[in-house]
């Protein structure tokens, strides 16, 4: 029987860590992910887990030590947020190219500057090209479930890639929700014992990690990483199916909410999906308008064909980005979804919105406006700009 609890997102991740009992966790404190290493340190202090904690002096060293531990043959994890991830940036690439199945609990927070401790996706979106699998969550339940699934995905022989399990800073990391926890023994058997094939401490086989590879070899490394990312698609779905068997909770690349007959769709990542669902319920109940939502769970690898298919029946779609990429055209999700639709020769009208940067609130009425705009766009076939902002303080904010 599942265990009913009330936990914050950080507690839920820490609890999953306790159940998985990884070998090594180097970590450095940064708001809002700090609680995760704190909880783990408490488990260690009370003899509840075997994990060795490394009190590193920076996030760069956190990821460096995680890489060392993983290459040595240990199941290694870390946790961070925002500028901590930015400091790790170099190492994210090293972890992925060395094909190390590291799991990173990322609590999404805006990047400086100005310094800001609240949720947006600029940290993980900035690392979207680093070769990590990225899985996002709407709720505490989802981040717990995703975290457990991350290990079999990362460690699968067809994949061997690091996985970033993302949740929205404060919104889910500190917000307490009802949650269903899986029993310890079932988590342990789901995740399995970690048995690396090649590792530094293997007494039977020496290994060298991290070569200097000149142009004769570098490109093949990247191609191999791409292949692993392609193969990760099947592994993510297989793992989700296995997780559903265990818990009854269903996961895929994304969740479709009220999409069966939807004419107007929002595509979004993370906790704001919950607010959008409330708006959908209200709109459908009061007006009967056919509005729906696609909530991205897996951003890397990007489920391009599946998203294009899921949007094929709608008249207009709003792609909602919680981070800027300053292309002066789209946000990261906007660009990906537009590319997917173009490739599928779709005629869906698309508008890209920026919302919630640095923790700016987004409300049910904001989503109602988005759906109204989609109706207008579908009717007039006029998209006023490549992207729009939601919730700016005033028009002046658009001044340079």
């Amino acid at each position: 029987m599942a265990i009913r609890e009330r936990l914050s997102g950080n507690e839920a991740v820490a609890y999953a860590i306790k159940q998985v009992n990884p070998d090594v966790m180097p970590a450095f404190p940064i708001t809002p992910s700090t609680e995760i290493p704190q909880y783990v340190a408490n488990y260690i202090a009370n003899g509840e887990i075997d994990t060795e904690f490394i009190h590193v002096e920076s996030e760069h060293s956190a990821m460096s030590a995680t890489i060392g531990a993983s290459a040595a043959g240990a199941r290694a994890i870390t946790a961070t947020s925002s500028c901590g991830m930015a400091l790790m940036w170099e190492e994210l690439y090293v972890a992925a190219s060395n094909r190390l199945p590291i799991v990173l609990a990322l609590v999404n927070r805006a990047l400086s500057g100005p310094i800001n401790i609240n949720a947006d996706h600029s940290d993980s979106m900035g690392a979207r090209d680093s070769g990590w699998i990225q899985i996002y969550a709407e709720s505490n339940q989802e981040v717990y479930d995703n975290f457990i699934q991350a290990f079999p995905i990362a460690e699968d022989k067809r994949v061997h890639l690091p996985v970033m399990v993302c949740q929205d800073g404060f919104i889910t990391s500190h917000g307490v929700e009802n949650i269903l926890l899986v029993e310890d023994d079932r988590v342990k058997s789901f995740v399995g014992e970690y048995e690396p094939e090649h590792y530094l401490l293997n007494p039977e086989e020496k290994m060298a990690v991290g070569p200097y590879a000149v142009s004769n070899y570098y490109m093949e490394t990247k191609r191999a990483q791409r292949q692993a990312m392609i193969q990760a698609r099947a592994v993510i779905l297989e793992t989700a199916a296995r997780f559903e068997e265990m818990t009854g909770r269903k996961y895929g690349f994304f969740e479709e909410y009220q999409m069966e007959d939807a004419e107007y769709a929002v595509v979004i990542i993370g906790s704001a999906a919950g607010t959008c669902k409330a708006a959908i319920n209200e709109i459908r109940n009061t007006t009967g308008k056919k509005v729906g939502l696609i909530k991205i769970r897996v951003f890397r690898p990007f489920p391009e064909e599946e998203i294009a298919r899921a949007l094929s029946g709608v008249k207009a779609a709003a792609i909602m980005d919680r981070s800027e990429m300053f292309s002066a055209t789209s946000g990261p999700l906007g660009a990906e979804v537009r590319a997917a639709l173009y490739q599928a020769r779709s005629e869906v009208e698309v508008v890209n919105y920026f919302y919630g940067l640095g923790g700016r609130d987004i409300t049910v009425s904001d989503f109602k406006v988005v759906y109204e705009n989609l109706e207008t766009i579908a009717r007039t076939h006029v998209v006023t700009g490549m992207y729009e902002y939601i919730g700016l303080r005033s028009e002046q904010s658009e001044e340079v």
Partner: protein, 312 residues
């Protein structure tokens, strides 16, 4: 571990753990440091070798070939300390869980750029946490891999590509950082400073102590670079000897906080003997720069007295 009398012939006939065929320069001090330190591993003991990015890494592990007879990890420039921390911690937990039975030693190499400068924080963290590992700095006094740029280990007045001697410049302005002393202040059980003596006894025995002392240990090894310093490769042993005889590079160790001077020249030689064979100091011997040699000498004397006080 029992310290046995040093037998040069025996030590030199131990199997090489850095295989020939790597691409380091002829007369490279870094390579000599690595070979000597790895020789200090007991035969049969397993090891994981770490390495900061630098000449050594790009020349000894060029895909698909490795020169290391042991398991080896290079991660990046600034994180050899942290990376090996992770490896060493993994070893402890896997051993605790009964997943590995063998004994492993952990030794990492970094140049002075990767150790004094960009990797300083990572090194400091690893030392402070007390991982059972040895960090060996092969100190050649500049960023040699990228072409002899100044580091905080570069001696004052050295002509480097970022502190070139010119019409209004006499090379590097600042004096070099004393990293061995800084690491000693971390209160680690063993710190040694060494270079190449005529039979390598000093470096070999310090490496033995560093490797087999439980806890974090640091070795700072002056490892001359023929290209960056500008000397004939055959001159290397003489340059090391002059570094000791002039007290430019004193041999000392700090064992459990106790400072020990390992060599005191009977007649301290003038610093010119160390400077003269090196192209990087050539400009100091111009008429107008005479007083700089005096200033260099004064700094050497000051530091030598300071060291002797610590060791008394």
């Amino acid at each position: 571990m029992e310290q046995t009398a040093y037998n040069f012939k025996e030590v030199m006939s131990k199997p090489e753990r850095l295989a020939p065929g790597h691409r380091m320069c002829a007369g490279c001090g870094g390579t000599i440091t690595v070979r000597t330190v790895l020789r200090a591993l007991e035969e049969g003991d397993k090891a994981v070798i770490g390495n900061a990015t630098g000449c050594l890494e790009v020349s000894s592990f060029m895909y698909p070939y490795t020169a290391y007879e042991d398991s080896y990890i290079h991660n990046a420039f600034e994180n050899a300390g942290a990376t090996l921390s992770g490896v060493e911690t993994a070893y402890h937990v896997l051993k605790k869980k009964g997943k590995i039975k063998d004994n492993f030693k952990f030794i990492t190499f970094g140049g002075d750029g990767g150790t004094y400068d960009i990797g300083f924080q990572s090194l400091s963290g690893a030392m402070e946490r007390g991982h059972d590992m040895v960090y060996v700095c092969y100190d050649n006094g500049a960023y040699m891999n990228t072409g002899t740029q100044r580091s905080s280990a570069t001696p004052q007045y050295a002509d480097t590509t970022t502190t070139p001697a010119g019409k209004v410049s006499a090379g590097k302005v600042q004096v070099r950082k004393d990293l061995a002393a800084i690491i000693a202040e971390h209160h680690v059980p063993y710190v040694g400073q060494s270079t190449f003596t005529s039979n390598f006894k000093d470096l070999y025995t310090k490496a033995q102590k560093a490797i087999y002392t439980p806890g974090a240990a640091f070795l700072n090894v002056m490892s001359p670079c023929p290209r960056g310093w500008g000397y004939e490769p055959g001159e290397i042993m003489n340059i090391c000897k002059m570094a000791m005889e002039t007290c430019y590079w004193p041999l000392f160790e700090v064992v459990e906080g106790k400072w020990i001077l390992n060599y005191e020249p009977k007649n301290k030689m003038p610093i010119e003997e160390f400077l003269k064979p090196q192209r990087r100091f050539r400009h100091l011997f111009r008429k107008e720069n005479e007083e700089l040699i005096g200033k260099f000498q004064k700094e050497i004397d000051r530091r030598w007295e300071e060291l002797k006080n610590k060791c008394s």
